[in-house]
């Protein structure tokens, strides 16, 4: 009955079903846990004060033998750029510091329909722009493995809260690696699904053609469980794919022969401790009747393409923040409208403002062909390259991050240097293929993640391979908290 917060999602659901404990027990323990340690982690922005009530209502239903949803008992942390009706959604920005959405994102609605409990909203880089969760208006989150270090980003709160056992699973968003990076830095599993597999309706847009909502959890099975609820066609999002209406992924222990391709450029460019771990992971994988080979993927232009497109779309997506329909208390009376807008919008953080300005630059009619069109061309070149590789191999492997987690405040000065850490993750966003980060080990107590990528809509293969790796790699550590 104690330490319920250490259980996986599967264990929670069966525990509740078998009446080993109540959902209320679980939620109370989680809330206590958050109370105890979140001062050090700072994963949470808002705790849902209805969580306990919801738990009690569900317990009543269970007690009176009424049917409850398949996720009854699960406590989900939601990145604070996912709209939750009647729960504050801030995007870690002053512009939305008091915003309470009038509607639920589709993924939230689907989770609630299965009786999952929203435990709270978790920290991010402002408007999801960043790779360290240092630049939000609520300040940085701290790595559960070593609080002086960054959690990664922008879904830092999502990863940290799962690693620190403050929730069962969480949802994040991944535009250029924003789920996989913190998953790698915090030693949890994090998935960016195929573009269009999960509805973005209700995700506060940063870069529409690149981003996806995805799950983070402590095991691959937990990820699969959540995907079966949130994935699938949504008429509210015209970019969702209609191949899958109701997903039926499985997390099985099936062993299948798989051809791995190790992206050599990405291994060569990483920290030696990381590449060492990658090679030993490959050894583990090979011993299971799978072959691996080195492949080449030229991603020289990938990062430039990613940032061009992301910033361009962001400059447009963030134009709506003018404090008229939603915002904070600042009476517009007396101000001329251009100066009102400009005053309001200067409350964005530095990183956001820079990206908006560069985004405006690359879309100017004189520069559009030079930057935006060429960035799109790079995308189609990469798509060709990746498709070619997937004829050769089934799964592409690389380290998730080229570097180990670093200290908070360390990488602030040089923006390009900061952007370079996204090199390994952006390809999956540009091309739209699914990619997952799996805990692979540690170096000096700092987590290292392994990234697996399959062709689009090949999530089941990705899950099978991830489960295989999880069972042989056997990373079972927990942070000392």
């Amino acid at each position: 009955m104690s330490k319920l917060f250490t259980l996986s999602a599967e264990q929670i659901i069966s525990g509740v079903r078998n009446r080993e404990f109540t959902i209320e027990d679980y939620i109370i323990q989680l809330l206590e846990r958050i109370n105890d340690i979140d001062d050090k982690i700072k994963a949470f922005i808002t705790i849902n004060d209805e969580a306990l009530n919801t738990a009690r209502k569900l317990d009543k239903k269970i007690k009176s033998q009424e049917a409850v949803g398949s996720l009854a008992g699960i406590a989900v942390g939601l990145k604070d750029n996912i709209c939750t009706k009647d729960i504050k959604t801030t995007c870690a920005s002053k512009l939305l510091q008091e915003y309470i959405p009038p509607y639920d994102a589709t993924v939230v609605r689907r989770l609630k329909e299965r009786d999952a409990i929203i435990i709270g909203k978790v920290n991010l880089d402002e408007f999801a722009m960043g790779s360290t969760t240092e630049f939000g208006s609520y300040g940085p989150s701290h790595n559960p493995w070593n609080p002086d270090y960054v959690v990664g980003g922008s879904s830092g709160g999502s990863a940290a809260s799962v690693a620190a056992l403050e929730c069962t699973v969480s949802l994040g968003s991944d535009t250029g690696g924003s789920i996989r990076c913190p998953a790698s830095f915090c030693s949890v599993v994090g998935l960016k699904p195929t573009y269009g597999l999960v509805s973005r309706f209700g995700l506060v847009s940063y870069s529409n053609s690149l981003e996806q909502i995805g799950p983070l959890g402590r095991t691959v099975s937990d990820i699969v469980m959540i995907m079966n609820v949130i994935a699938g066609f949504d008429e509210n999002d015209n970019t969702t794919r209609n191949e899958i209406k109701t997903p039926e992924f499985v997390a099985s222990d099936v062993k299948r022969p798989v051809r791995y391709g190790l992206i050599k450029e990405l291994v060569e460019a990483s920290d030696p401790a990381i590449s060492k771990l990658v090679y030993s992971s490959l050894d583990l994988l090979s011993s299971n009747d799978c072959k691996w080979e080195e492949v080449s993927l030229n991603s020289d232009y990938a990062l430039a393409s990613y940032y061009t497109i992301a910033m361009a779309e962001a400059s447009s997506n963030l134009a709506r923040y003018d404090n008229l329909r939603y915002g904070f208390d600042f009476d517009p009376e007396g101000y001329e409208w251009n100066s009102y807008f400009s005053k309001i919008r200067n409350n964005f953080g530095d990183e956001v403002k820079r990206r908006i300005m560069i985004g405006s630059h690359v879309l100017l009619s004189g520069y559009y062909a030079k930057y935006y069109l060429k960035a799109q061309k790079v995308r189609s070149i990469l798509r060709h390259e990746v498709k070619k590789l997937f004829k050769q191999v089934d799964v592409l492997i690389s380290p998730t991050m080229p570097v180990l987690p670093f200290k908070i405040g360390e990488n602030i000065d040089d923006p390009v240097k900061r952007y370079l850490i996204d090199t390994n993750t952006v390809v999956a966003n540009l091309v739209g293929t699914p990619a997952i980060s799996l805990p692979a080990g540690f170096s000096d107590n700092l987590p290292i993640g392994l990234q697996l990528m399959t062709d689009e809509m090949q999530e089941q293969l990705l899950f099978d391979v991830s489960k295989m790796y999880e069972s042989v790699a056997s990373i079972k550590r927990r942070p000392d908290l």
């Binding site: 009038p102 008229l324 517009p332 009376e333 251009n338 964005f348 403002k353 630059h361 069109l373």
Partner: protein
């Protein structure tokens, strides 16, 4: 070469009332970043593939009313008789 004037122009286009300090700081950083993006110059513009996702007209929604009223008074800070209050236009 990204000039300070251009940075000010970008700030205006983006409706950002930057302080002088911000303009100076951002100028250096923006110049660096755009310099990095300039490597795209060596890509040729021939044969860009058309955009990926296509749908037939029948796959889009029907013309049927659904009431999903948003009560703006809940999120708008300043309103008058149901209208959202905004700054003056002159």
């Amino acid at each position: 070469m990204v000039t300070i004037e251009h940075v000010k122009h970008l700030a205006w286009l983006s409706r950002l009332d930057l302080t002088n300090d911000e303009i100076e700081r951002y100028h250096i950083e923006i110049e660096k970043i755009i310099g990095y993006l300039d490597r795209l110059d060596s890509i040729s513009l021939s044969d860009i593939e058309p955009r990926h996702y296509e749908r037939r007209v029948s796959e889009f929604r029907d013309d049927i009313i659904y009431d999903n009223q948003t009560d703006l008074s809940k999120t708008t800070k300043y309103s008058k008789e149901g209208y959202v209050k905004g700054p003056r236009m002159r």
